[in-house]
Point group: C2
Chain length 325, copies 2
């Protein structure tokens, strides 16, 4: 069995793990990112963490085939750079070179949402499929596309920004500069905003009471209020799942993946979210009679998706004969 190291670089934590060729996590370690530091310091720590997790697993560097890094932003995996990241002080950061100064292994880099999709494709909800799309509902809407078992990110490695496709032309202003992006209507933050607006407009609602008790809007309040029978909350969930289903059906019509994986904390709400999400989504795609239909599944990889996906991305680069040195 071949082994790979995956590094999940986040704004708060850097996580690294040793992963086998089937996506099984053997061992993992985590440190704080301290994103206020220089790029060189952060990347040096990533390399050191990779070295540490190999040793901690009782292995040698020579037991590992490659290191894969999942990072926010846009990579250049040919040159081994992180071209750009909105959250970290990285501009054309020479990740491959600096990591290899600490651990002498091939190093490959991709976007974190793409790595999460790779984890689901190799070892999670889309295991056994060649074409899948993973949509993550969080602060934003993340998207990763797997085509023929490989991450698809376009000619510039900046894709897929499916969360930044307009769903409501002329709608709510998005951080990306456009108006009406999918993520403004289907992210957890979007649900929190809809909750706040509906609570303000309905001061006597259960939802408004729960919101005042909580002190700030979040994606759980509407579900909790609906469980208490609140009609206002029910309408908010109905509207949210309408938008969500519109966007998910868009992803199906666009990519026709064998499996569409949906993840993010809001999925923990269970049936009150999932039943309308599935029913509304699957009533909308453009399948002719007799044509095989996409299956919607929940993400399975949880917090380890970043590590496992980064490692498996590294594995596919090795399999494709890419040069990570």
């Amino acid at each position: 069995m071949a082994y790979y190291v995956g590094i999940d670089l986040g704004g708060t934590n850097i996580k690294a793990g040793v992963v086998d060729g089937e996506g099984k996590l053997i061992n993992k370690l985590s440190i704080k990112t301290h994103a206020e530091r220089t790029m060189e310091e952060i990347i040096h720590d990533m390399g050191q963490l990779a070295a540490d997790v190999i040793k901690d697993a009782g292995m040698e560097v020579s037991d590992i085939e490659a290191i894969g890094i999942g990072s926010p932003g846009t990579p250049d995996n040919n040159e081994g750079l992180l071209v750009y990241s909105s959250n970290l002080p990285f501009n054309n950061a020479p990740m491959r070179k600096l990591i290899r100064e600490v651990v002498d292994l091939p190093v490959f880099i991709d976007n974190d949402a793409n790595c999460a999709a790779m984890a689901e494709a190799v070892a999670g909800a889309a295991k056994g499929t060649k074409d899948s799309v993973t949509i993550t509902l969080g602060t934003g809407v993340g998207a990763g596309v797997i085509i023929n078992g490989r991450i698809y990110s376009g000619f510039n490695q900046a894709g897929s920004e499916f969360g930044h496709t307009v769903l409501v032309s002329g709608g709510i202003k998005c951080g990306c500069g456009r108006k009406g992006c999918f993520e403004q209507y289907a992210s957890a933050s979007a649900l929190a905003r809809m909750t706040q607006e509906a609570a303000n407009a309905n001061p006597d609602s259960v939802m408004n009471r729960l919101l005042e008790e909580t002190g700030h809007a979040n994606a759980k309040i509407a579900f909790n209020a609906m469980r208490e029978g609140d009609k206002v909350a029910e309408e908010v969930i109905d509207r949210y799942t309408d938008y969500l289903a519109d966007g998910l059906a868009n992803a199906i019509n666009t990519f026709m993946p064998e499996v569409l994986v949906v993840g993010g904390g809001v999925c923990n709400e269970g049936d009150p979210l999932l039943i309308p999400m599935r029913e509304k989504t699957m009533s909308r795609p453009y399948f002719g009679p007799g044509v095989k239909q996409t299956e919607i599944r929940l993400a399975q990889m949880g917090n380890d998706a970043g590590i496992v996906g980064a490692a498996m991305m590294g594995m596919t680069c090795v399999l494709d004969g890419k040069n990570g040195k």
Copy 2:
């Protein structure tokens, strides 16, 4: 040089051509489809037309590597079937088997919009690129996606139906059953509808006069009225290009293609369409600093796109070792 036959199956005409390995059309023939006939009769004629065009080019069947068919609807290229077509009497039509009864060559089948994209990728506006998307603005909005030099159509070969992604959630009802699809806002038919509505609301406008002279709305009237200085027409074009740009920027953010090809008769309007289309589209995609940008180009292959693309699709199937027998 290897040669391929491409067949472009339409509701009105069947066209076939001999094409070389670089996408150069050597010879072509055309017959009427007579779509009211049985599936067997139509497919037999497709095979006979392939035989005729080979002979007419002064070649033998043995000079040809394969036949590629571009058809409306959803193919099953593994089994050699047309699974479904909304315009033709084809349900699980055994195209490969029936064509091979006339001409004994490997036969491959794909969707016509996908073949048009393949033609642009091999010999047209996206020549020399690996990843491109071709959007055609006609009665509907057609889309074909080329990834790594191959048609991408999803696990069920039913994609990409990018024209049936919602751009205006809850908007105008589409023939596909959804509300607010891209094609309801960016097709030539959509522009004709916007023209009719604005002319009705502004009976004194130049546009209304031109519409009454023409007798029915089309995609040219607004442009002609704008050239006569009509403010109402200018507003229609402004709104149309807003929607169009929203959808094109969605395609860029989704696929990050090296080239986004735009085609269809409305592109013949030239700068009054193309300048706002390009400027509005390129102000919207989600590129970080330093990230390479997609280029927008006009389709070049014209009426031969279907034949050339079908032939080149057949070529890629041969190159990939697919069995067309």
